[in-house]
């Protein structure tokens, strides 16, 4: 299930792009789900662990992926850390929900990400309340953002 902590979280990795640059592994890039994420969010195709073809930037290395993609790859592969997911746009939300389907996933948010019109189950760690839709999630965020 997805767990969200709103607001300042000292142990969370805030600058995910900087952290990614120093920790990512080749296998993170060529993993099948990673390829889907990179294609969906950055509209880019993974050629190899060190080469991604971007329609705007041309051939790029993984460090030039978007901040949101880097955070998603960190969430998927670096399970010991909590990451600042406010580096992700709303187009990353469905991937965060998918990554949370099979494990307890904790993310830190400094804004309310749009998780879409369908019902979901997101636990707001600040209050312990489970939000089932965006209206509830927005209301739960009020004291903390």
């Amino acid at each position: 299930m997805l767990n969200v902590y709103f607001g300042d979280m000292p142990d969370a990795i805030y600058n995910t792009a900087l952290y990614f640059r120093n920790v990512y592994q080749d296998a993170w890039i060529t993993d099948s789900m990673s390829r889907e994420i990179i294609l969906d969010v950055d509209k880019s195709t993974v050629v190899s662990a060190n080469l991604i073809e971007s329609p705007v930037l041309g051939p790029i290395s993984p460090v030039m992926l978007s901040g949101g993609v880097k955070t998603l790859l960190l969430i998927k592969h670096d399970k010991k850390q909590v990451f600042n997911a406010s580096t992700c746009g709303d187009n990353c939300a469905k991937w965060i929900l998918q990554l949370a389907e099979k494990r307890k996933l904790v993310i830190n948010l400094h804004h309310v990400m749009d998780f879409g019109p369908d019902d979901f189950k997101i636990k707001v760690l600040n209050s312990g309340v489970i939000a089932h839709n965006m209206s509830e999630l927005i209301r739960e965020s009020i004291p903390y953002l």
């Binding site: 041309g58 901040g67 746009g89 187009n91 400094h110 804004h111 839709n133 209206s135 927005i138």
Partner: protein
Amino acid sequence: MVGSYNVRVSRRRGVSFRFTIRRNITVVRGDSGTGKTTLFEMVSDHMREGAKSGVTIQCDHPCVALVDMDWENQLAGMKNSIVFVDEGLQAIRSDEFARAVKHSGNYFVLFTREVLANLPYSVDEIYHIKTSGRYHTLVPLYKHDDTHRYYEQLRAKPKRDFDLLVTEDSKAGFQFFDARFKESDVSVLSAGTNSKVLEWLDRHKGDHVFVIADGAAFGPYADRVLALQHIHRDTMAVCLPESFEWLLLESGLIKSDVVREVLADPSAHVDSEEHESWEQYFTDVLRTQSAGTPFAYRKGELADAYKVAKNADKVMALIACRNIR
């Protein structure tokens, strides 16, 4: 710093950004993968090496990137510049950063999805990047109709009359609407401040609510309030004119060449060192231009002249919608 500025940032390797900066604080957010980091890095490269970076920047003022963890010292050396700040700077939500931005001689472009409740940024100055081939521009995230009702995707269409009108302030703005709707079925309440509008909406779930707040400083709350409007579009409408004082100026009640000039192009008159937001500026203009007349403006007590029906009609015409006239 005064004015609005066209900015063009480009490089031969396939990317060009063109946009206009209109106020002291611009916020850029939106989907991932749209080019925010690329824009920031191009500005940073140009700041380091100028034309020898391979990046070209065309703008009447220097465009610089805040890159150091020692940002306070870096900022202290900047004046009359457009300062770009990337999302990795954790200090962006600190009170120290907010103090450095307000009343600054610089304009700021902030790449962040943070709420930034301590910065008075406008709902009109929240952008996302739109791409067409190699060309990118900044497009406002929120649109509005001609009665200042804001939306992100779909226009809200409340199907029932409103029971409650909530204002963000508890002074002149509240007094105006309270007087206006005294004899009607609409109850007028105050949230107290713009930061309390969300809490107020939470306490009034299920009510038919018309929200009126000052758009010029409502940026931190716009995403959640407008998201609630979208979810509850049958029962909630959100109206965000620049400010209540702007409504009074725009109504034509204060006849003055200064008012006309200011309203025609506020960017050309608001000095970011003197006014942290356009809301503050419009309050000053209203106060000075109405002094000595029956419309003399004081925030704490609204002059009776504004409450006279034919005068109030002119203000209400700017935001009229079902049963709010």
